[in-house]
Amino acid sequence: MATVASAEVVEAPPRTTSMSIRAALLRPELAAVCGLLLTFAIFATLKPTLFLALPTAITVASTASELGIVAVCVTLLMISGNFDLSIGAIVGFSGYGALYTLRAGYPPVVAILVALGCGVLIGLINGFLVVTTRLHSFIVTMGTMLMIRSLLNVLVQGVPTKLNLDPRLANFIAGPNLGGLRMSLLWFGVLVVVTSVYLLRTPQGNWNYAMGQNRTAAQNLGVPVRAMTIFLFCVSGFGAALLGTLQAARFDSVDGSRGLGLELYVISVIVVGGASLFGGYGSTIGTMLGAFIFAMIQSGLVLSGAPGFYFDGLVGLSLFIAVFLNEWFLRNVDRFRGTPSTNTRASAPQQSSEAAP
């Protein structure tokens, strides 16, 4: 497949201004940038005093970071053509990993590592099951989601428990240490940078897109599809466990139902960020923007005094509009370029190939 081979053999021609504009228009996150600016402008106009204030920035950053940490990791998996429905259950499970480690008398740092390790381990199991059974990842991870939740309920009997984590460590992990903004924003930023470099500047990133576009072709061209799939499920599990750890530290408690329904929010954020549900297209920067759009809509609606019973409906409507505009924008970019309007998404991996060294 051209996208894989091109990383090694194609020399990019010198870039002209029109090519740069075209490249910018083809970026998966362009529509999300427009969506973010539009969302910001709407709420800044509706409630300027409340919306343009530090507490709003703090809550928007907090919601966006916590959702985004998982969404960015799942984006990699989704680009490869898989999805992980067990992320919510991993959020709940990892917190209890930390709790039991602390109760066993190990230092808090070990408890954090165990919590993260729980996520990676479950990801490893998910990935192994997907590549060995060849069942769709939706089915496999739905099964593991139910099994993890069930195991969690059996172990903890549904009892939310105080974690009693060292306050200094909890503050370092999840405290408001960035001028009032929570540390989750920093971890989110680090993840976005690392995953973007991975997607755009490494051969493995290219393989990721290739797997999502045509799995068989990628395999025939030498992409280690099985190993990559397992690796990406581990990344997804790690992201969920990181959120579980951050929330456990933030609220100093663990709860078996934590993360319930998270997967739907994560899908929303990723799709708003411009990624394709069918794989092969997307970016973690787009997902980051999607997370901020989601958080901004949620905060903006509350600050605008949206009636309580309509709140979820308005969030859903806003997300629908965001995704619809995203799709409309991408279709019309092709028209703007004067080319047939069918292949914008297929072009994206080529972009990443060109960008790769």
């Binding site: 928007v60 009892v159 428990t161 609220f251 139902s257 929010y265 949620q298």
Partner: protein, 354 residues
């Protein structure tokens, strides 16, 4: 299609392709046996053995409790513990069934159908949506099975005595409308609340009833009240409530109808620089008790779910054996847990009784 022969000698070997379906069938049969066949055996025996006075032996009484959720959640672990202890104390046969999909009334009704098929003497049914369960409950009654609904269908806010036109021999549990009424009345009288917000998770009927009655009661007393929908995610609900408190400086009291959300509101009060806002929550857990002790939560409204398990089993057994029926609903809640009684409750929560 090839025939699969039983036995080992000259029979063709089972192909690997058959292992899955055969195993699935075996598991299904085992599950069917555990839920249907075993209780039916008990029911066949029950007609024959009676005490000399015509009373049914306690050991022959078979009660099935159809709950709304798995017995492993915080709430239902206490309910099922109460029901099991009632069965042990009364010396009866007892079984707990629950739908695989929590909160789905169709799945609940299917579970009640399974319970009817087992021909018990009595069934305790979770009142997720009593209207939607009427037809299946009527089928149970028509089959000669006594039914207790938990929590009650008719509220004491509308009729002080048990509504005897309903098909149940008794009703037990927290009166949820009264919970909303108590939340509003206590906030106004104890905390001097003038503007209340009630948080509710989307599509949770119990929380909806609590909020609706809170709003009606508060409005009737001249206080302002409104509902804010919050997601299950504790981080998101904390951030939403932070912005809510910033956007509504007139709100002086938050009532959370879910104990998990209360923890997020504790943080929201700090983040919005509104520590003076009162916080009342429904239901108990470790964090709520800690909050009541340290003053971040004013008080909690409890429904004593252990009794929600114990009392229906007791009512059904006494009805089956002695034809006793309560004239009123047995209300297990609402009750207030505040600083004056929180210490007494803490140990019991740890023991999965409260």
């Amino acid at each position: 299609m090839k025939t699969v022969h039983s036995g080992f000698g000259g029979a063709p070997k089972l192909r690997r392709a058959y292992y899955g379906p055969v195993a699935l069938a075996a598991v299904s049969l085992a599950a069917l046996a555990s839920t249907v066949i075993a209780p039916a055996v008990g029911a066949q025996q029950s007609g024959a053995s009676t005490m000399s006075g015509g009373l049914k032996e306690a050991s022959d009484v078979k009660i099935i409790y159809v709950g709304c959720s798995a017995p492993t959640t915080f709430f239902w672990a206490r309910v099922t513990r109460g029901a099991q202890e009632a069965a042990n104390n009364l010396g009866i046969q007892y079984q707990y069934l629950y739908p695989q999909t929590s909160g789905d009334v169709t799945a609940l009704n299917q579970t009640v159908e399974q319970a009817i098929a087992a021909q018990p003497d009595g069934i305790a049914v979770c009142g997720l949506d009593p209207n939607a369960s009427h037809s299946v409950i009527q089928r149970a009654v028509d089959s000669g099975i006594a039914v207790v609904l938990t929590p009650p269908e008719n509220s004491i806010t509308t009729s002080p005595l048990r509504d005897q036109s309903l098909p149940y021999i008794g009703q037990a549990g927290a009166d949820e409308p009264s919970g909303g009424v108590l939340a509003a009345n206590s906030a106004i009288s104890r905390l001097g609340s003038k503007s209340i917000v009630c948080t509710q998770s989307q599509a949770d009927t119990t929380q909806g009833v609590r909020c609706k009655n809170l709003l009606d009661t508060a409005h009737a007393q001249g206080a302002e009240a409104q509902v804010q929908i919050v997601p299950n995610d504790i981080g998101q609900s904390a951030d939403i409530m932070t912005n809510f408190l910033r956007a509504h400086p007139e709100v002086d009291t938050v009532v959370t109808t879910n104990a998990d959300v209360a923890q997020g509101v504790v943080q929201a009060k700090d983040q919005s620089s509104r520590p003076e806002v009162h916080l009342v929550t429904f239901d108990l857990n470790d964090n709520v008790l800690a909050g009541v002790k340290n003053g971040t939560i004013d008080y909690a409204i409890d429904q004593q779910q252990y009794w929600r398990g114990y009392i229906p089993v007791l009512l059904l057994t006494h009805y089956v054996r002695y034809k006793l029926a309560m004239a009123n609903n047995f209300l297990t809640g609402p009750n207030i847990i505040d600083k004056s009684n929180v210490d007494a409750v803490t140990n019991l929560v740890a023991q999965a009784i409260r």
